[in-house]
Symmetry: C2
């Protein structure tokens, strides 16, 4: 996200990410994505990814959150229910490490209390306006800073473990089969 | 600020900052404030500071931005004009290093293009709602990450140098007497 908390311009464009693009520097993305078996994408993020030269999630189970019609091009599935229901399904079918991407998707999953890591990459830029990563209405949560890394481009990567909300601790414990989600953000 | 960008709860309370309070750890505040000769406070921040046990800006010139009536208790001055006008006055009267605090004040001064450093302390907490540090309408700016420091409490301090907006570079150069401002944030 930008220093002021945006993940895209108002029109969805992410051209400003090019300010931290460097040949040979993926900011740990490959190492991370290799640990992921399931990718959950918001619809807008999915539509962006479809425009990439190559499908970046080859060999992974991909679920796209959408209420609008869509047809799979790379074996992806579409889902229009609640995050909790999806996580239960994924857990039953063996998912271990779920990666969630897209602003609305991230906010929805953060609200469930089942996401246990949040990786934020802060791009050294004030955008001034755009689509925010966070929005009002997520419950208060304490985080534990597990790792921080400053890159030579000025990108700052912060990895947090997310504490459970007190009232949810029982629910989390009773759904141990549910895969825990991670939310890396470029 | 919190990870989701708030500097206070909706009612202005900053009780959540206590999660990173540690005996003997001031996160570099004293070292920083000793370099500052002039403090500019927003009215809400000023009103909070008045509730502190001791006036924390003894020996410094303090200017409070407000349109509402107020009477000085510690030699502070009140100002209701534009940030640019205040910076010009301060520059003429010898101010060298101005520290700006308070959400509205920070946003107003960031918009002028005369602030050259931004220090953000990210508290490991998602608040969910509150008063944001940034707001829509600040112009796009590139930043340079000059320093980052992770503390054992999980507080992450990021110090950025702020680039000028291209169209303002001439104005900045022609007002070299104007003091440059710094904006540390707890």
């Amino acid at each position: 996200m930008s220093v002021d908390g945006y993940i895209a311009r108002r029109d969805g464009s992410i051209d400003w990410l090019s300010t931290v693009e460097r040949e040979g520097e993926d900011y740990g993305y490959k190492r991370f994505i290799d640990t992921v078996d399931t990718v959950v994408l918001g619809r807008n993020t999915y539509d962006s990814v479809l425009g990439f030269e190559a499908w970046p999630f080859l060999g992974k189970r991909v679920v796209v959150l959408t209420h609008r019609p869509a047809s799979a091009r790379h074996g992806e599935k579409f889902f229009s229910g609640k995050p909790e229901a999806l996580l239960e399904q994924l857990g039953k079918s063996g998912a271990k490490h779920v990666y969630i991407d897209g602003g609305t998707a991230i906010r929805g999953f953060l609200a469930t209390g089942f996401v246990d890591h949040l990786t934020i990459s802060v791009v050294p830029l004030v955008l001034g306006s755009g689509i925010p990563l966070f929005a009002e209405g997520i419950s208060e949560r304490s985080l534990v800073l597990e790792e921080s890394r400053a890159f030579s481009t000025g990108l700052m990567q912060l990895r947090y473990r997310i504490g459970s909300r007190a009232k949810e601790r029982k629910a989390v414990a009773s759904t141990a089969a549910t895969p825990r989600g991670s939310v890396p953000r470029r």
